[in-house]
């Protein structure tokens, strides 16, 4: 039982990271129907930004400032990618946009390899890791912070999307782009904003991922990126709540597999799960069924 609860906490930790990254996938998909393969790389760049800000400057920045600054840089990167590569392809066939996204992902990976080299950087936790005792369980502070901050940001996002005017515009664009234009919504700005928010949250996920596994390297975004995408599909792509739910579920399934079956088979099981979901309920848990029109 103790092992189970411990694994559950670990699962929530990984799940928070997946959920943060999955939100980026789901928001972009919801608004321009594109699987942004480069999202995992934005996550990786976010981690590099945090590393550079925290360890290469001559003065010490406070932890929260490091996070906020790296998130903003990642947001700028995300908007830049959208403007350079995806904007021109909005009217193009979806396969072209998808191929561009794959190209962008590879490009960013190898750009990072060129800039930072392929040897991993060691990411020390930016906060002290002394365990906190909660209900007789010693939980590292980092785990608590990961879960807490992730949930805080998700709540902020939900508030933003559901209660504010820009959030309303975002929902409108994802429902019907043409009608949104007629209502005087600047679609280009809304799409850029979506990329910015998604990228910022992805970067946050990347920073936590790097601190949990204490390493940063150019291809670190690939596997968690794919898994976060699976989480987004699992929860129902296009739905923000679904991405959060899917992220936590995938995180818990993964840690439980590691603990009770074998760590060798984790990837096989998660990808197998993806195939099963796609076969039986491609719309995911919270997604809506869409009928195809002739």
């Amino acid at each position: 039982m103790e092992l189970f609860i411990r694994q559950l906490i670990n699962g929530l930790n990984t799940g928070s990271i997946y959920a943060l990254v999955a939100i980026g996938y789901t928001m972009v998909y919801g608004i321009i129907k594109l699987i942004n393969f480069a999202h995992g790389e934005i996550m990786m760049f976010g981690a590099y930004f945090a590393f550079l800000l925290a360890f290469t400057l001559s003065f010490n920045l406070p932890f929260l400032l490091v996070i906020v600054l790296s998130m903003s840089f990642a947001a700028i990167l995300g908007v830049l990618i959208e403007r350079v590569a995806y904007k021109k392809l909005r009217q193009a066939p979806r396969i072209s946009a998808l191929i561009t996204a794959i190209g962008m992902s590879l490009f960013l990976q190898h750009l990072a390899q060129l800039i930072f080299g392929s040897t991993p950087y060691v990411m020390k936790p930016l906060i002290d890791t002394t365990p906190v005792v909660l209900f007789n369980f010693a939980i590292p502070k980092l785990t608590l912070l990961t879960i807490g901050l992730s949930i805080l940001f998700m709540l902020l996002l939900s508030f933003f999307v559901l209660k504010t005017k820009p959030g309303k515009a975002m929902r409108a664009v994802s429902q019907d782009k043409e009608a949104a234009i007629l209502m005087g919504i600047n679609v280009d700005n809304v799409i850029s904003m979506t990329f910015a928010i998604g990228s910022a949250l992805g970067a946050l996920g990347g920073i936590f991922y790097a601190m949990t596994y204490s390493q940063i390297y150019p291809t670190m975004g690939v596997l968690p990126g794919l898994k976060a995408f699976i989480a987004a599909v699992f929860g129902g792509i296009g739905s923000i709540g679904g991405a959060m739910l899917g992220g936590y579920l995938i995180g818990i399934i993964e840690t439980m597999t590691k603990a009770y079956i074998s760590s060798k088979w984790v990837d096989v099981i998660v990808f197998g799960l993806l195939i099963v979901i796609l076969l039986f309920k491609p719309s995911g848990i919270l997604g809506k069924n869409t009928k195809e029109k002739v």
Partner: protein, 341 residues
């Protein structure tokens, strides 16, 4: 006498005859170059690599170019083929002395197993469309790589499988490639191939003229995976060593880039871009660290400015060169005449 001459002329100008002659000429030139040691070991290996990539890209072209479905796990089928052929090759070596027969037997096994895998993945997957199918094949490719790594009793896991007979010569590779490309070309120009093309153009319309969509989609998908299995077999016998990481997502993307660059739906485009994309990075040795940066930039730039690829859906045809040249000459003559007037 005169009749015989016209007959001879007709045979000589027959497109098929021209194509056969050109293929044989290419082969003989390369063969002579290799025999006289004008081509060193390094380039020899690269040539075989080009042929393997031609097999891989033309086979992916059936599913991605002609059928129009996104397949991101082609390296998975290649891996299945490679490991099957390698294991068969090691097991059959004591019984079959001839290299060609050994390759034939192992490649057949590889083709069958990769085809079965294609059938197993394709049957459920082809209900999905577009990006979902891409994601599913991506997941399949990753599963295959993980299975190869984990089933270490059969595949020797992450350390890699060694001791595979190195029987892949240029001649075997060349004629295998010619055979596969010819089969794909003839198939795509048959009524079945046209049915597949019509599905790409408009699924609903082709269904309403009585084409069995599911069957033809599956047919294209299974054919693509079978030929990928043969490509994998060629790869296995080239170096005598296999590692699971040779068949990762990056490999699938590499094959995909070749198809996109050459033009989705053009076999000659795939052949040309295979040659370019295998040789170019090797000749820019100092440039090697930029290799994938180049690949990815090429991919993005092509999608932005020429989404149909180098050749589009057109085929390069030797037999039409003469006709094209004559039209070119006449237009130049006309221009010159105009200029004089």
């Amino acid at each position: 006498m005169k009749l015989k001459l016209t007959q001879l002329k007709n045979t000589l100008l027959d497109p098929r005859f021209i194509n056969y002659t050109i293929i044989v000429t290419i082969f003989l030139t390369m063969f002579l170059l290799i025999q006289t040691n004008a081509v060193n070991r390094y380039i020899y290996n690269l040539l075989i690599m080009v042929l393997i990539m031609i097999v891989m890209s033309t086979s992916l072209n059936i599913a991605t170019g002609f059928l129009g479905e996104l397949v991101l796990g082609h390296a998975g089928f290649m891996g299945i083929g490679a490991y099957t052929a390698a294991i068969l090759g090691i097991a059959l070596r004591p019984y079959i002395a001839t290299d060609l027969l050994l390759f034939g037997a192992s490649a057949t096994g590889a083709m069958i197993l990769a085809g079965i895998a294609g059938l197993l993945v394709g049957t459920p997957a082809l209900r999905l469309r577009g990006d979902y199918l891409g994601i599913m094949t991506l997941g399949f490719g990753e599963i295959v790589r993980n299975l190869i790594t984990n089933l270490s009793s059969i595949t020797n896991g992450a350390q890699g499988l060694s001791g595979i007979p190195r029987i892949m010569t240029f001649s075997i590779a060349f004629w295998t490639t010619v055979m596969i490309v010819t089969i794909i070309f003839l198939f795509m120009n048959s009524r079945h191939g046209r049915a597949i093309l019509s599905i790409r153009e408009d699924e609903i319309a082709s269904e309403s003229v009585g084409i069995n969509i599911t069957r033809y989609k599956l047919l294209a998908f299974v054919l693509a995976s079978m030929f990928a299995g043969i490509g994998g077999a060629m790869f296995a016998f080239k170096d005598g060593f296999l590692a699971p990481n040779s068949f990762n997502f990056l490999k699938s993307v590499e094959i995909f880039v070749i198809v996109v660059l050459g033009g989705m739906g053009s076999l000659s485009g795939s052949i040309i871009s295979s040659i370019v994309l295998v040789f170019l990075p090797e000749y820019l040795r100092d440039f090697n660290q930029y290799r994938y940066l180049l690949y990815s930039s090429v991919l993005i730039i092509i999608m932005l400015y020429r989404p149909q690829g180098l050749m589009g859906t057109k085929e390069f045809d030797f037999t039409k060169i003469k006709a094209k040249l004559t039209t070119l000459v006449t237009t130049i003559k006309k221009r010159l005449k105009k200029g004089r007037e």
